[in-house]
């Protein structure tokens, strides 16, 4: 991939390129006032602080935050709808939600200041991805309770771009709008961006003839292969951004045109990376679960929120000039984490290894874990084509060994590998990618 020489432009250079020492002071000040405020205004936090005998006045350094309990998604659900608001409802000017009205619904409130901050942070996201006030931005996220569409929308307006709230669905109409309105920047989930590319193909639309030059993706994890395809098939630069609805929505972290990790808006969010098992900090740069504390939210501040997203932090300076730490792309979620023979493994790691070996897409596969004589016994079933299966026994054995070796290198634990035919896979695939029989 050739790196586009990016003009160094920022939306809020004071915040994005802040001297690290000044940032540390600012984070401390903001953390101190956030904790004082939640202790005063939110019974949930007051009770939890009291339980461990923590007085917010005692927080003297950012590291003291580690003494505080983590906030889990279920705490937010329990507080439905307004239990965690830190301001009276009349000061809230916007409400978003996740999980609809189901049993896992969460309501997030925003004050006028929160909306302004949010708009600035999504404007940062857009500018980092190469969008300017002269762009025509088509937003294909769903305009509804979820945070994505409105979050990016307000940022794009603040930036001064021309915003098309085309919302989700109706791909042919989206493409027509893209052609007629001369859309230059598309905001979409990666899978929807690919779907639009495919639909264009079916419609006989030539992507090179469009005005489109930037795609900002969000809403779901994507592989470097997906990025490559979006960039190639739509003839654009595609950048990633990281949203956490509970904390704000989009605007938490975003890629710059270097496309080497996502810059965290550290003047508004304090990030920690914890080992998901011990909940202790990982060594600098180590992989673990991302835990985030809001530093400026007025209506809905959250202390040490477990995102369940697994990543690592990159403290190396970025050529773009932003001084913020970068999170590497979110690869997996702790919800998917399995412990096999005492080692944390993720189904996505297995998929990544198979994809590397086999080319563009990973073959169908399934991880089966059993317990034999109190020991974990894990086998990966990998589908191979008819020809490989019958023709070349030696080739088959070699392939099996390669997969086994590469998996062991990636996971740090040896799994059995079994090659199966399509028909066998058809039979077992319905059980999902992971079959854990240890609990049975």
């Amino acid at each position: 991939m050739t790196t586009t020489a990016a003009p160094a432009t920022y939306w809020q250079p004071d915040g994005e390129c802040m001297d690290r020492e000044e940032l540390a002071q600012l984070q401390l000040e903001r953390l101190q006032s956030t904790l004082s405020r939640v202790a005063r205004n939110v019974p949930f936090y007051r009770t939890r602080f009291d339980e461990i005998g923590f007085d917010p006045d005692d927080l003297r350094s950012v590291d003291d935050l580690r003494r505080l309990p983590l906030t889990e998604k279920r705490h937010l659900i329990d507080a439905y709808p307004y239990g965690l608001l830190a301001v009276p409802l009349r000061e809230v000017v916007r409400l978003h939600g996740t999980g609809g009205s189901g049993s896992n619904a969460i309501v997030m409130g925003y004050t006028r200041n929160d909306i302004k901050t949010w708009s600035n942070l999504t404007a940062r996201t857009l500018v980092a991805g190469g969008v300017t006030k002269d762009d025509v931005v088509q937003i294909t996220f769903d305009y509804g309770l979820l945070t994505g569409a409105f979050g990016v929308h307000f940022g794009a307006e603040r930036l001064g771009a021309s915003v098309i709230p085309s919302s989700s669905g109706n791909s042919k109409r989206q493409i027509k709008i893209m052609q007629d309105y001369k859309t230059t920047a598309l905001v979409a989930t990666p899978s929807y961006a690919l779907h639009l590319a495919e639909t264009m193909g079916a419609m006989g639309v030539n992507p090179n003839a469009l005005s489109l030059r930037r795609v900002l993706v969000g809403g779901e994890p994507w592989s470097s292969e997906t990025r490559r395809r979006i960039q190639a098939e739509l003839a654009v630069t595609a950048t990633d951004n990281y949203a956490v609805s509970e904390l704000m929505g989009p605007g938490v972290a975003a890629e710059c045109l270097e496309r080497q990790g996502l810059h965290v808006n550290e003047d508004h969010f304090l990030v920690e990376v914890l080992d998901p098992r011990t909940l202790e900090p990982v060594p600098p740069g180590g992989r673990g679960e991302l835990v985030i504390t809001t530093l400026t939210k007025e209506a809905f501040p959250i202390v040490r929120f477990r995102t369940r997203d697994l990543t690592s932090l990159d403290f190396a300076p970025c050529p773009c000039g932003r001084t913020s730490v970068r999170v590497r792309g979110i690869e997996a979620r702790t919800d998917d984490m399995l412990i096999v023979k005492g080692v944390n493994i993720f189904p996505s790691q297995i998929e990544a290894v198979l994809r590397e070996i086999d080319g563009e897409t990973a073959p169908r596969h399934q991880l089966v874990i059993e317990r034999r004589h109190a020991l974990d016994d894990a086998t990966v079933l990998v589908e191979v084509s008819q020809s490989v299966f019958f023709d070349e026994v030696r080739l088959q054995a070699e392939f099996r060994e390669t997969v086994k070796r590469r998996l062991a290198a990636e996971l740090g634990v040896t799994l059995e590998v079994k090659l199966v035919q399509k028909t066998t896979m058809d039979d077992v695939a319905a059980k999902g990618r992971v079959v854990d029989l240890r609990r049975a």
Binding site: Q25, E29, S33, S36, D57, L59, P88, N113
Partner: protein, 248 residues
Amino acid sequence: MLTIRNLDVAYGAVTVLRRVSLHVNAGQIVALVGANGAGKTTLLKAITGLVRPRGGDVLLDGRSILRAGTERTVALGCSLVPEGRQVFGDMTVRENLLLGAHVQLRRGRRDEVREDLARLFAMFPVLERRERQLAGTLSGGEQQMLAMGRALMARPALLMLDEPSMGLAPLVVKDVFDAIVRISRAGSTVLLVEQNARAALKVAHRGYVLETGRIVLQGTSEELLANQDMQRAYLGRDPGAEMERRPS
């Protein structure tokens, strides 16, 4: 430029400042607002070494000045314009200003002082007009400008102003705050301590709200002016009540 971290100050058993953290960036005006008795003046005294904090640190350009002592703090570039102006009434405006330049004069830098004076008069034409007048005959607003001018003659890196609007008529307050903006534009960094929150935040880049010795709010001036707690407590507005009063 100025960084205060976890500052605790107590007079005997009475805690006056509790874990105060704030910072002032070079070239900015930072407002510290709060009611009478919130601890604002104590904070200035701690910065200038007039009271010894119980804990925490005060850094000027990254170096602790906590144990520097008042004289050294001034020599390092922190100038304080105290509350109530305190100009020398039976001295002329010019004499008052030259007092501010005594360090420079002692070092024999007469030319520099002359230049500083010319620059100052360009910034405060009223002081030039009253150059030979006794300071005691100036109006309150003029005295405030003289006090600020005197502090500027020491070429401070950081100018701290304690309640510059106190006791001044609203129109004069505006003059004084306009002067503060001019001082800032001329390159000085300003820590502005004020009860008049609205006036202070209108000229400041950022602000902190001190309440019974604690920083309870901080942010850009724009954020603070829009903050509803701030409006209720310090800006004389209750947006919620206003909404309810509004006929439907």
